[in-house]
Symmetry: C2
Subunit: 420 residues, 2 copies
């Protein structure tokens, strides 16, 4: 046991912990004999235990002082659990339908107890690989993004509340630095952590490291990420942080939460859908060419942005005479100017979304952490072909994002590149 009281759990220690923690013990009806415990952490950073007894269930997530998928050689503050639980609670308050409830938090143990998102929920990324359509996904995720981003921005908050929250989340700097490194830096330089489908993508990876214009654009996005406290973002909203069924969508794992640019969240989600799209050809088999599913992904991309736009601006309209201090009603006092500011705001957000989305794609192809969408394509040559298309699309998107006027244009460009 470390001197600060922290202990990394294993299944045996976990049972002891549960017995000693009334709020969790009660959820299990104080029955420990028929306890089922399973460690399911398939993520990159932490340990996740599913705990089930005949009378109740929950999930226990513990942060260790290093990055799980790398090991103790890459230390990482376990304080991230505090920012994860703080973001979970705040986003859960704003959007309870799509965020698991927190039951328990132990700051010393860096341990969160939360609702078990039960089967048939699966990780969205796995659903996308399996070719499953989720008819309510765009309604749900746009709801989550619109509410969490709007209500934590200056469109809703006073400057006082906003700055207080910004200050608190400055404490999550270690996780911000990790993003800076793996998203905005490593892919653009030689780094021991980088990998790609070699030898097929060797020259593609090299081209990324030698592309001055790409470096110029990534610098602008990095500066926004580091300096612009726009809203309390999730910070890691890829398709592996979303659990789904046909009628439910749950967002987990906001340990990278901090006040940053909204486009980083929307871009993470959209960028990972684009990765899923370009991976489909690798999943095609005789009798299932994945063509209809690719159309569904394109529709999902389009609807995600369009529904987000609709819901976010509706919240803005609803609260335009509220507490938010960005646009005072006494100044923005006629329909023309109200339309102008909204168009300007949403246009910048759209371009941020495309830029950050592209950055998140690039790093998944030539950086340290890859995605199962591509990794599950066993044949290297085939995988490389899919990845190259995605990479080329992302490079174009990052450089030319300001020339896209609508999400339809983005989707058309995807189809065009795909058909080449």
């Amino acid at each position: 046991m470390a001197s600060d009281g922290f202990r990394p759990l294993d299944e045996k220690l976990l049972v002891e912990y549960l017995k000693a923690t009334p709020i969790l013990a009660e959820k299990l009806g104080n029955q420990f004999d028929k306890l089922e415990i399973k460690e399911v952490g398939d993520g990159n950073l932490n340990f996740v235990y599913i705990v089930i007894s005949p009378s109740g269930s929950f999930v226990i997530k513990q942060a260790l002082p290093y990055i799980r998928c790398i090991g103790e050689s890459w230390p990482m503050t376990k304080e991230r659990a505090y920012f994860e639980v703080t973001t979970l609670k705040e986003h859960g308050r704003l959007c309870p339908d799509h965020v698991p409830e927190v039951y328990h938090f132990d700051r010393v143990m860096c341990l969160i107890g939360m609702r078990y998102i039960e089967p048939p929920h699966i990780i969205l990324r796995k659903g996308l690989i399996a070719g499953i359509e989720y008819p309510l996904l765009t309604e749900h995720i746009s709801d989550y993004m619109a509410k969490t981003l709007f209500y934590t921005s200056l469109l809703y908050l006073t400057t006082t509340d906003h700055k207080r929250a910004v200050a608190e989340f400055c404490g999550n700097v270690e996780l911000c630095r990790l993003t800076e490194q793996v998203v905005f830096s490593d892919p653009y330089k030689v780094s021991e952590h980088n990998r790609w489908t070699s030898p097929y993508l060797d020259s593609d990876a090299e081209a990324v490291r030698e592309d001055n214009i790409l470096k110029l654009e990534i610098a602008e996005l990095k500066s926004k990420f580091c300096e612009r406290a726009q809203a309390l973002i999730h910070g890691d909203l890829h398709t592996g942080s979303v659990m789904v069924t046909g009628d439910s969508t749950q967002v987990i794992d906001p340990e990278f939460g901090f006040y940053g640019p909204m486009g980083f969240d929307i871009g993470a989600f959209v960028g990972n859908l684009i990765l899923a799209y370009f991976a489909q050809d690798g999943h095609a088999i005789n009798g299932n060419d994945r063509k209809p599913y690719k159309v569904w992904i394109l529709k999902t991309i389009t609807e995600t942005w369009n529904l987000f736009y609709k819901k976010f601006t509706a919240l803005w309209d609803e609260h335009k005479d509220g507490t938010g201090e960005a646009y005072l009603p006494a100044i923005y006092n006629n329909p023309d100017v109200q339309l102008l500011i909204k168009q300007k705001y949403m246009k910048e957000l759209f371009h941020d979304t495309l830029g950050f989305g592209a950055a998140k794609m690039i790093r998944r192809i030539v950086g340290v952490a890859h995605v199962e969408d591509f990794e599950s394509i066993k044949e290297a040559k085939k995988r490389a072909d899919c990845e190259r298309k995605a990479l080329n699309f992302a490079k174009n998107l990052l450089k030319e994002r300001r020339n896209y006027q609508s999400i339809n244009e983005v989707v058309s460009a995807m189809e065009q590149l795909d058909s080449q």
Copy 2:
């Protein structure tokens, strides 16, 4: 005496305070019989006492829990003294030649003891009104701006140090809110605090309140001010916060200090020089038409930006392989990309400077706090003519700032508008 130990000083209480405070008493050689004390606070917010004895001198500045020039009806946190002294010390550490030394700080009393900037130093604004040329001003102020802004930005700091400092200065939110109100909001709406040279400027003031494009642009700047933590800015760097002689330049009064956009400081200084320029016709008398002086002001504007550019980018070059995490040398690893990022960064900073400068001009003509440059022009009609030129120039600058490629173009536009 308030229950928290805070007491507003008067001259008698000040002497008691000095006697009871060893570090200050020593500076006076413990001689209190020949003490000269003079309250000189001509500023808008605080009380400033000059204290002189035969063996030493200093200045005592105290923040009261309201805005001095308005009175107790406009409460304002006295905690601002803490942020003033913190910024004074940090800027003083980075640029000791142009920032007065801090001798003493009493957080309970909201009281700062600092170096007395002795005569013949006068407030720069008064020198500009008197038509005095300062040959070293641009060298000095560009030095101050380049050092304080560079060394507190991510070009020099690690993300960790930057975020820690950002968090601390989030505490100065009350002063940020004051700026939001008086710079970015009140001039663009009906407000009891607004005033202007009436009736001459009635329709000009109204036009500001009805200009949708101006409102769109001011919103963009306000959002940068509220959200973008670029560097530790002074926050109130007008020509009334600078004391000068022919060979010395001292920057005082950084109580609005926080992590904000660099262009807000550079713009404040440049914008107030532009106000000084358009006020000159109002100071012209028989035998002194102020024409050569106007040329000197234009040269001062040009040199301020150009020397800032030179010094700031020189610091960047000097430290490009240093601790700063914005542009890693392993990525920005060839002269072409190094030039590109510098040009992009400085271009955005230039346009921010023009925008914030324009915003600071507008608020001095139709907002709550005016400047002596115009106020000292006794004849209202003449004053209004000067102010209108400045206002029209500022409106153009705010709207068209992105079309200016260099400071020379700005100065040419000033001359052209002036000659109309």
